[in-house]
Subunit: 215 residues, 2 copies
């Protein structure tokens, strides 16, 4: 008989995407507390760490079940495990990275992936001088081998770390190869079909958010 | 006499931070349209590009004034200029970067800063082997010179691109040197005084947001 999970994972359409977007931030903070040797925390403490109200945190978590008892707070290990299940990072996801420049190299050498649910299984470039170089956990592969490598690794997630002027073409080829989730470091907005999810990392977006308050 | 601006910049406390956070994304998309030779756009078109409803875009912009005419859409150049004024990026802000590893190198060589309101004026490291190296627009400086370089450049914004275990110490020293806005690439939550604003870039947060929908 299958164990009954305390996680009530409802249809994702019921839960606002902005709530889902905060769960990884809660998980990161809880793991930092656990690493610091802590066993129990509260929505108040989490809120102070994150600059979010404790009511918001309780409301966000309440979408998924009951994780704490009134007055005793949250058991950190338990809540981490539950959030990992909710976010499906109780396993390791293969990721392919396109672009073996300095940014790709920095991403490939980032130490925090494996413990948080991800592993870079391939890095691609079109530059013959980069193909074959060791970079982080793998050797740089020819981008022409994308499709076969995606089939082998069953990767669904890709990272784009190429110059802006080739980012859309790379995205098109990733989608053609069957990838459905793309994290894009190039400062553009990609055009993709509806079944593909794209997230962006662009430092200027953060700087401009800051300068609003500095003016 | 000072020209009357069409930008009504109210007390920032009136406008939700989440709205401010979307303005740089609108600006980036408008500039891409302008680069593609376009003169006019609509909230519908912007919404389709960004996966945001046109009503949300109109509501966000309405906090700051009237930018389009019913039926004729937005003049892209005009709206870009207004958003640049609102976000205070109608000037160039000096930025200091801490960490001259592969991530720091990637950030230093990012080509898109200057045209969007930012310039890296100093890169710091504590590693004697890195100090003096040319990296992007500057030479790597000794982190011990932070305070004097911040005074010279009047920088208010810093980027942390150092290993996780030193990130809090670096943040403390940045704040001590007078910096008030920090973009942190290390996967931790920094403890800072209330007057300091921190934003985070962490690819795993984006991956975990994606895997919620992939499970």
């Amino acid at each position: 008989m299958k164990a009954i999970s305390t996680v009530s994972k409802r249809n994702s359409k019921e839960i606002p995407d902005i709530v889902i977007g905060r769960l990884p931030v809660y998980l990161r903070t809880l793991r930092l507390l656990a690493d610091a040797g802590r066993d129990v925390t509260s929505s108040q403490e989490l809120g102070e760490h994150l600059g979010i109200s404790s009511a918001q945190i309780r409301k966000d978590l309440s979408h998924f079940g009951e994780f704490g008892k009134q007055g005793t707070g949250y058991n950190i290990t338990f809540l981490c495990n539950q959030l990992q299940k909710i976010l499906n990072v109780d396993r390791v996801w293969p990721i392919v990275l396109v672009g073996a420049g300095s940014l790709g190299n920095a991403i490939a050498n980032y130490a925090g992936f494996e413990s948080r649910g991800f592993r870079i299984v391939a890095i691609f470039d079109e530059d013959k001088k980069k193909i074959g170089l060791e970079m982080g956990p793998v050797f740089v592969d020819d981008f022409a081998n994308l499709k076969i490598r995606v089939e082998e690794t069953r990767a669904q997630i890709a990272v784009i770390a190429v110059p802006t002027h080739v980012a859309q073409r790379v995205a098109d080829q990733l989608i053609e190869a069957g990838l459905t989730s793309i994290l894009c470091y190039a400062p553009i907005t990609l055009t993709v079909p509806p079944h593909v999810r794209v997230e962006y990392i662009d430092p200027v977006i953060h700087f401009q958010h800051m300068t609003y308050y500095l003016g």
